[in-house]
Amino acid sequence: MQTDLKQTPQPPIKKLEAKLLPGEIVVNEVSFVRKCIGADSSHGDLWGKLICTNFKVSFITHDALPKQRFQVANRLLGEHDVPLACVEQVVTVNDAKGKQKVLCSNQKLKFNPTELVLYCKDFRIIRFRFDEAGPQSAKKVCLAIAHYSQPADPQLLFGFEYIGKQYYGSLGERVNGVDPGGGLQMPLFDRPSEWDREIKRTGAAEWRVCSINEGYVVSPSLPEYVVVPVSLADQDLKQYLCFFTAHRIPLWCWNHPNGSALVRMASISDPLQQRKLDQRICSAITKSHPQRSDVLKSDLDKNLPNIQDIQAAFVKVRQICVIEPFEESEEKWLSSMESSRWLEYVRAFLKHSAEVVYLLEGKHVSVILQEEEDRDLSCVVSSLVQLMLDPHFRSLTGFQSLVQKEWVMAGHRFLHRCNHLKKNDKEESPLFQLFLDCVWQIINQYPAAFEFTETYLTVLSDSMWIPVFSTFLFNCPQQRTENSMDFAKSKCIPMGEEKALRFPPVWDWSQQFTPKDQALFNNPMYVGKGATCVQNGTVKSFRRTKKNYSSTLRGMPSSLRNILMDGHDSLTLTRRNSLVPRLKPDFSQIREVVESPTERFFRDWVSRPADLQGMLIPQLLPSHLALWRLYFLRWVPEASIPKGGPVTAYHKLSQLADEVEKLQSQLRQYKGATPASTPTSNPSAPPSDHSRMYFKAGSTHEPSSIPEYLSSSFPFSPVGNMCRRSILGTPLSKFLNGAKTWLSTETLANEAL
């Protein structure tokens, strides 16, 4: 929320106390701590109390930040709080002794820290000074943070305490049949009816819901209900399942209106069975196709980077974006970005998905995505394919149901990939973040095609580090059930009641944000399904008219325009993909252009105006991919554009969209009025808080100045995050360079801080 210099200053006598959630307890705290705000001086730093709870690192202060700033407020967290699950690394420093140490769980610290730096998973870097604090308490807090940010057991994740407390707190309510956290208007795919609806929605007549995994009896990593070809009986499946890795039988994902199906599948572990089984599965899928089309298999392990590659790329890109000193990294910025390979991988996933889109849409065949375990790469590819082909998934609820279906239910190991327990670094991999980046790339190219904004994607990613949501806490639905039962036992919650231990999914956004802040998720440009035009109006269609800069002579006087328009149109014809090796400027040899059917398919599509309610294929020249700046750079003070960035356009669009909305509701009010009656309330009065837009239409006058808090980091603020300038030339700057390898190092003497 917008926190101006506090209007009503707190009475200074008031005690600094942590605001706690149900089940949250204070572990350790230390007073007279300075949170570093300024880059080079202590000017503007905040004084307060640093508290470690079983959920978060909290800094409580009466001081206000020096600059007016904007920060979307999270209902679960205070302004300066960091959830422990979000802490990537705890670094303690004693500058007098010239020592620093990366703290792990259950470690000793041989010096009294004068400084604590927290490197966060959401890319924040936060720095505290203990110059005036009690050395022992400071040390204790540092150790506590290190310890509690590495829970030994999933059940020590705060979410369990939280829902346990909520269970007791809400007993009365439940008796009255109120389901806390319920009332969500989207499918979670944990019951057969929701799969049935999805089958109907996509017209997958020859597919059925199968419940052989009810109670997770056949495969612990599969959901209880899966969709399979009608021609495969439960008996057949039971016979086959033992040949699949982890008993993961093929899962139906989606049906194309032309009848082609998208299916995901684990590898067949028994090589002897491979051919036979492949044949059976394929023929079953073929039978489910109205035209009996072929089935093609796409081997993801062969064609895409693996999870370690992706993790390595992510570590590097984060290193470049937030850890390396700002100025020093400028010179080699582009080649560093390239060598991180992050954008290359983003492109690889988009490209692979686009090729699958071609098979489904262009060749009318069904596609099986095959991956060893079908729990990582398949999640990314299957969701991207569906986003490209089905506009339903570009709406907010559609997108959420997609994540629920292809990630949560399909058994993506969020617990391991997030490394919530920080136990197994090899298992850590930002597959989901990679997926979000891919989605952002498509949004960036087709900004009116999605109902949600990049802020939504960013906030969704941040929610991974708040360990109370079922979405991101477990490796599969079965694990959630099992852990809940164990926890219920340990808390003496009666058997049968453990179902009431409901980990809320992240999708109920009111848990984290006010309705007003949730409006930040809404894209004012979205052209939804119901984008019918104003009747009798000038706006007939929201189809984008094609603009071409290839010849700026386009706008010549009409006499001239005719021949040139011809030229203009013809340029659309030249839109072709080319596999020709790059020609030397000296006009050396020219080879014949060879175009694959896929390339031709993409080229044909690109040459037509995009229908935002139809198939969307991202453009994939290397120059088309961009760094997702909001996500990677929002906490970097030096990279923040004051009063600039895409939000300044969003601001204006949002106001206009709000105005349009208000006019529409006025019209509805008029229409609703019976012909004879006059509306009681003045229809020109807007229906107050129903607007979907964050920035409301103001007065007709243009504002005389741009809101101070708008910046390229909006709705986040880098104020209070550490400026890399301050560590320039200090060993701290090298710290995360080989952070993981440094973890074992006891202490590191360094050349003078």
Partner: protein
């Protein structure tokens, strides 16, 4: 179908255009005194290539006749593309090949022919030559005032032949002294005012390097003059001199009689070097960039290839220099003097970009035209030499993409502030395209004096006449005119990016798009439509209630909750 005064010079059938994206296309090639026009009818719809000859930098015959008896020609273009054609060897060896005709009209200056701009007689509603009126622009800035006056000393371009006739100088320096200052500044380009801050009175002044030479010559007049510039701003007792060059280059200029201000001689002045390289470095950088982006982009090393061209690094240095100037003036309330060697390349980039950041007027369509007319055209950026209009000498060392860099910088700033400019990307591309096309007189000649002498306003059409005749095309719908909105872009590689909409536009895999603008326009249209309907209904209701007031009862109406959107 030709432009006024455009005439067909030659036409050849069975010419092959070898497109790097599609492959060989056979068709008819027409050459006029303005353009090259290729049409291939084999395809549906017909493939057409339409290129103003002014864009052509070089035409070369490639190799001898091939076995098939074909000769091929390559056209290197100034707008980041190369074209290749092939056609049958002329049987009649006396007859000139169409490409020889093409060469004649592509390089009219080298062939004693007029540039097409002097023939083109299109009439537009507005006379674009009237867009810029120096006196009116200075008046807008509040000049003359108590500290600054407009001098007529250069009325006949006698003090400085590359400067405009209207110059703004400190009030207390008489014309005679100006002439002595001119003697100490390269090419007589004395420090004159470009822009004054409406509140603090801090100024941006521009000039060329002082003629210090190896012996460290001084000029009391020049020293006094800079002091006067400083004194004209009561807010600060300091003056910043921004030398655009790397310090090494500035020092090297002493050998040629030039150099930079020593801080001993100029009390209260602080000299800062901005490290921007010269026209030759920039030309080389663009050459490399073209190799990287045209015709195809290498899949695997895009970013490091781009980095190796140093193009964005140069853009960054220019923007960083302009930002420092703007920051000194706005935040430091301090006056600045900007120069490089001659003060017509890097200096023009820096002052115009700083002014664009400082003054929202220049971010409007007409204001930007004024900015170009003033800082670039009237102050003698040598467009004729830098672009080489109609000149076949493509290796001329005076050619350099200085102005392209400036437009690139503008695009970069507009990327960071999408609502701060009244014009859109298409406007910038159009300016660049017509800088090369030789259709308009705007970018002809090297100085105001030459333009007056050539009677350009009388004999040619201004680009602004064309642009202002269809402003809708060039308008950014997201523009918000905030008052006193100074832009401080973040000059970092993290935000700079290659302007793909310009450099990669020939690649058919680029789908040029402005969906945000498009969507905004659609919303505007929708709002207008809805407003109309609401007003109609309001009228209806008013009429009805006026005619039947007695029927008032408890009104029943169902209001559907606002859920659906757009």
């Amino acid at each position: 179908m030709l432009l006024p005064k455009e005439s067909v010079q030659d036409m050849a059938k069975d010419v092959t255009y070898i497109c790097p994206y599609i492959g060989a296309l056979r068709g008819t090639l027409t050459v006029t005194n303005y353009r090259l026009f290729f049409r291939c009818m084999d395809r549906e719809p017909a493939f057409v290539l339409d290129l103003p000859l002014g864009v052509v930098s070089r035409v070369e015959k490639i190799g001898g006749a091939s076995s098939r008896g074909e000769v091929s020609y390559g056209l290197v273009c100034k707008d980041i593309r190369n074209l290749r054609f092939a056609h049958k060897q002329m049987e009649d060896s006396l007859r000139k090949s169409i490409f020889e005709i093409l060469m004649k009209f592509a390089f009219p200056v080298s062939n004693g022919l007029p540039i097409f701009a002097f023939e083109y007689g299109q009439v537009y509603p507005e006379n674009g030559w009237k867009v810029y009126d120096a006196q009116a622009e200075y008046k807008r800035q509040g000049i003359p005032n108590e500290s600054w006056r407009i001098t007529k000393v250069n009325d006949h371009y006698e003090v400085c032949d590359t400067y405009p006739s209207n110059l703004v100088v400190p009030v207390n320096i008489p014309d005679e002294e100006l002439k002595r200052v001119a003697a100490f500044r390269a090419k007589g380009r004395i420090p004159v005012l470009s822009w004054i801050h409406p509140e603090s009175q801090a100024t941006v002044t521009r000039c060329s390097q002082p003629m210090v030479g190896v012996n460290g010559k001084r000029s009391k007049d020049d020293e006094k003059y800079l002091q006067a510039i400083m004194d004209a701003n009561a807010q600060s007792h300091k003056l910043f001199i921004f030398d655009a060059r790397p310090s090494v280059n500035a020092a090297a200029n002493k050998m040629k009689g030039g150099g930079y201000e020593s801080e001993d001689a100029y009390q209260n002045a602080e000299l800062v070097f901005l490290d921007i390289h010269n026209i030759h470095v920039m030309r080389e950088s663009l050459r490399k960039l073209k190799e990287v982006v045209y015709p195809n982009i290498e899949e695997s090393h895009w970013l490091s290839n781009l980095e190796s061209t140093h193009w964005l690094e140069h853009i960054k240095l220019i923007l960083a220099g302009a930002l420092r100037i703007a920051d000194k003036v706005e935040s430091g309330k301090t006056s600045v003097v900007v120069h490089c060697s001659d003060g017509w390349d890097r200096t023009a980039q820096l002052t115009s970009l700083a002014m664009l950041m400082l003054d929202g007027h220049y971010r409007t369509i007409r204001g930007f035209q004024v900015l170009l007319e003033k800082e670039w055209l009237s102050f003698g950026h040598r467009f004729q030499l830098r672009i080489g209009h109609g000149d076949k000498n493509h290796t001329d060392a005076d050619r350099s993409p200085v102005f392209l860099q400036f437009i690139d910088c503008v695009w970069q700033i507009a990327r960071q502030f999408p609502a701060a400019f009244e014009f859109n990307e298409y406007f910038l591309v159009t300016i660049l395209d017509h800088m090369y096309s030789c259709l308009f007189g705007t970018f002809m000649c090297n100085s105001e004096q030459q333009r007056v002498k050539e009677e350009l306003p009388k004999k040619t059409v201004s680009l602004w006449a064309y642009i202002n005749s269809q402003l809708e095309e060039f308008t950014n719908p997201l523009y918000v005119n905030y008052s006193n909105h100074v832009l401080f872009p973040v000059v970092s590689m993290r935000h700079l990016e290659l302007w793909v909409g310009y450099y990669i536009r020939w690649n058919p895999r680029m789908r040029p798009q402005e969906p945000v603008h498009q969507r905004y326009k659609e919303l505007l249209a929708k709002r207008a439509e809805l407003q109309k309907r609401v007003e109609e209904l309001q009228r209806d209701v008013t009429n009805r209630s006026a005619s039947s007031t007695e029927r008032a009862g408890s009104p029943t109406r169902s209001i559907t909750p606002v859920q659906t959107f757009v």
